[in-house]
Symmetry: C2
Subunit: 139 residues, 2 copies
DNA sequence: TTTATAAATGCAACAATGTTGCAAAAATAT
DNA sequence: ATATTTTTGCAACATTGTTGCATTTATAAA
């Protein structure tokens, strides 16, 4: 994990700082699970909220993480597994949000739609959210 | 509009208060456009944020309005045009969110997906968000 | 119409999330 | 080893949302 984190920072030409290393390791550990700022905060030893927010923005700008829109109101991020870039986040996969524990995970699958967008509207991104109860909470 | 608002309050057995009347009129006027708490606040003459939040919750509970999930982080509501109830919000229509002006509107259309949800996960609701630029902002 | 009662309001107080400016510290380049 | 560029950490602030409680208001009952 540590090595992978360092690799990524190097790859994206980002300075190797304690915060970035730790946050990146947490995302690598989380896999397909999305993490909120407060999730990360409680997992970090030394926490400065502001630096954390900036770290997340930096990672997002570089296409390392993407926002996992789940309708919960809190911003969550997950590792980009596909090919994301600064200008194009290819996170067109669906997200599942558990209403009970608040957990959000990235899923796979394709979405088809026949939505008619009004004249003059330009669609740039699509988000598909499945909401319900996860396996941990459904028992 | 005024009459329609009063009708609705009567229909749902909700007390006829100034706040409720005004908020309902704003939603009726907005049609398929979703409104945030702050949108409403600036449109109201006399504003108490807390009462407004409670009014929105009440309307939502009664199936008069539904949350329009748009990934913007702010909670927005739009009139239920279909048949929503306290326990079942049938707002399975997509929402369009304009990244430039922040506007959100309800659209129509069906969504098909082949998403494989992990074992034990129960899907209760689905949300489909189209994000981009609206006609007002695309000029 | 007046009174009783049930519900809604408005206030204080608080919590969570997020942003900006700026000086100090740290990471890289020279 | 030093210079330069970034990043950090702090204060200060803004927005969004919630809860408890006394007061006021809307409706139901007498």
């Amino acid at each position: 994990m540590q090595e992978k984190a360092l690799e990524l920072l190097k790859l994206y030409r980002l300075r190797n700082t304690a915060m970035r290393r730790q946050v990146l390791e947490l995302f690598l550990k989380a896999g397909h699970k999305a993490l909120s700022s407060s999730n990360l905060e409680s997992a970090l030893e030394k926490t400065d909220r502001i630096t954390l927010y900036r770290t997340l923005k930096t990672f997002e700008r570089n296409g390392i993480i993407h926002q996992a829109i789940d309708g919960s109101g809190v911003t969550k991020y997950a590792l980009c597994h596909g090919q994301c870039s600064e200008h194009d986040h290819m996170d067109d996969h669906p997200h599942f949000h558990c209403k009970d524990c608040g957990k959000t995970i990235c899923l796979e699958g394709k979405i088809q739609n026949n939505v008619k967008v009004p004249k003059g509207f330009i669609v740039q991104q699509k988000h598909f959210i499945l909401e319900g109860t996860c396996s941990d909470c459904s028992n």
